[in-house]
């Protein structure tokens, strides 16, 4: 018997038992749908985070006190501006080193008040981070050296405080102190939940006085190219370790962040897909069950086919193809619904979803595999039926 023939027979059998076939497929449909959607969401989240990190700028090394790692307790910083000067000497190019000190403060203009992240930094910030201006100017070395009360606002802060009014040259009160607005950043979105459009930048010296502590939170170093990153990273950490032998310093790069976060998110996606895969497996058990029922129900038919000359493998093939067809059709429907669902989620919710070819190929392959795996036992049973016994069955 030809495969085309077996296919025709199987389709006919599925058509005859339309409702049962549909219900059996439902298990596979739901499983595949879940795999496709969850992988799409996982991948979408990963892409979004990677885009955020890449959006920071390129070839950045962040130096912070203590151990950086998931679950590590934040360390009280001992670093101050003399350490920044030290790192500048170590790196060689002072314009490639900048600093950050952070504090949450309220910012007020007239009756408008917002809570923003105050970031003290210096004139080198724009050399390292990708932070284009919408209006005005960046802070200068003079602003930093003379502790000027000037500020560059994140786009969201500017919008909330000034509305349609041009903020440049106007006053804003930060933590009770009046600052002059010298610039407004372009909107850049958020990184790791840090809403960068809600930041207000002031000279680091001014920020330290405002906060009342001479500390800084971290140092950022810009490498001149991807090849330089690793050596520079080691050089800076080694220099700081030498300066403070009883303390630890860490330097992380974008690549490492991307790697770590990518791994975590991939793992998460994998776990989600595995959970969805279990439902696919349950769908497969359903297929097996229905095929066994079908073989029992059609025992007489099997006996007849054998009497008319069907070989064991003809009958086996017929039932196996039926099972594989069930799961494959279910899989295809699941893929279509999954892709549709992912697109819908993408369009209607803030959850990012990215459809990947490998997840579709995998879902399809697994559907076919499930059909083969769970169809073999019933099909073998059918193939081995004794024709005389089968013909007699009621």
């Amino acid at each position: 018997m030809r495969t085309a023939e077996a296919l025709r027979m199987a389709l006919e059998a599925l058509r005859v038992n339309r409702l049962r076939s549909t219900l059996t497929m439902l298990g596979v449909i739901i499983g595949v749908l879940a795999v496709v959607i969850l992988v799409a969401i996982g991948t979408g989240a990963k892409n979004a985070v990677e885009k955020e990190i890449a959006g920071l700028g390129s070839n950045i090394i962040l130096v912070v006190p203590g151990q950086v790692g998931l679950g590590a307790a934040p360390t009280q910083s001992r670093l101050d501006l003399t350490d920044v000067a030290y790192v500048r000497r170590v790196v060689g190019d002072p314009s490639k080193v900048t600093v950050a000190v952070n504090s949450g403060e309220s910012v007020r203009v007239g009756r408008n008040e917002v809570f923003a992240t105050l970031t003290g930094t210096d004139e080198n910030m724009q050399n390292i981070f990708d932070r284009p201006l919408r209006r005005g100017r960046y802070m200068t070395a003079t602003d930093v050296d003379t502790r000027r009360r000037v500020t560059v606002l994140g786009s969201e802060v500017a919008g909330k405080l000034f509305g349609d009014v041009d903020p440049i040259g106007r006053q804003a009160t930060i933590a009770g102190v009046r600052f002059r607005v010298i610039g407004v950043y372009e909107s850049v979105g958020s990184t790791f939940g840090v809403a960068r459009d809600q930041e207000v930048h002031v000279p680091v010296t001014t920020a330290q006085r405002l906060i009342g502590l001479p500390r800084i939170n971290g140092i950022a170093v810009g490498a001149s190219g991807p090849d330089e990153i690793e050596s520079l990273q080691h050089k800076v950490v080694a220099a700081l370790d030498a300066r403070y032998p009883d303390e630890k310093f860490s330097a992380v790069t974008q690549t490492q962040l991307l790697g770590t976060i990518g791994t975590v998110l991939s793992m998460l996606t994998g776990v989600l897909a595995a959970i969805a895969g279990i439902s696919l497996l349950v769908g497969g058990v359903g297929v097996s069950n229905i095929m066994l029922v079908s073989v029992r129900e059609r025992t007489k038919e099997i006996g007849l086919r054998k009497a008319l000359g069907a070989r064991q493998r003809d009958v086996l093939w017929q039932f196996l193809i039926e099972a594989v067809l069930l799961t494959t059709i279910g899989g295809l429907i699941g893929i279509l619904l999954g892709v549709g669902g992912a697109l819908l989620i993408q369009a209607l919710s803030p959850v990012p979803a990215a459809i990947t070819w490998w997840s579709i190929a995998l879902a399809f392959g697994v559907s076919v595999g499930v059909g083969v795996f769970f169809g073999v036992a019933p099909a073998r049973r059918a193939g081995r039926l004794d024709p005389v016994v089968a013909l007699r069955s009621e």
Binding site: M1, E12, L308, G309, R311, Q312, D314, P387, V388
Partner: protein, 250 residues
Amino acid sequence: MTTQPPMTSPTAFEAIGLTRSYDLEGVSVDALRGVDLRIEQGEFVALLGPSGSGKSTLMHLLGCLDRPTSGILRVGGVDVATLDDTRLAELRNQTIGFVFQSFHLLARTPALDNVALPLVYRGVTRSERRARAEAALKAVGLGHRMGHRPSQMSGGEQQRVAIARALVGDPQVVLADEPTGNLDTRNGEEVMNLLERLNADSGVAVVLVTHEPDVAARARRQIHVRDGLIELDSRSRTAPAGETTEGGAG
């Protein structure tokens, strides 16, 4: 005019000391206890005997649906013991046509496809299958019922579809286990006419089981089975083994 089809052996079936026992929870039931039998090409044989005597068991063995417990069975000269299940299925497909008491048609499949079914397992193309099934259905007078499903047909029509299915593969033998058992006299008559014509026109050997004396009377040879043994064989009584005088005569 002789209508003997070309064959390697003129003997359709040859059984020597054929037995078949069933094991029922440790107790052995002997359905056949040593059957010796020769059925030549083109014969028309009726098997008679009380219920449980072993007629169906013998038919299953002749039809290669089952294997003997002991003894030798040759079908068309081939010892079935030398064939594996696959070859047995092929032998069944090519040399034997079955007609059952309860028709055994696929209920939701049109008559034409029911008839064509044996050809599917022979790898015949779809168009040729159609053509041959059509011809077979016309031969049993059902040219106008080809698209009907068995559930839309009378019992007599269904059995004629089953006969068409038995003929479609040009078998050497048609085995019919109580083919008229579920039919009224008129439909039974018609089925018998068909089988007779088939036997006379194409030289196909027909072996049928029946409980009805007037059906059995239409066969040229009657074999009586009792307790798993052949009790009486009309041919060995009236004409010694060998030529059947009227066989194949038009």
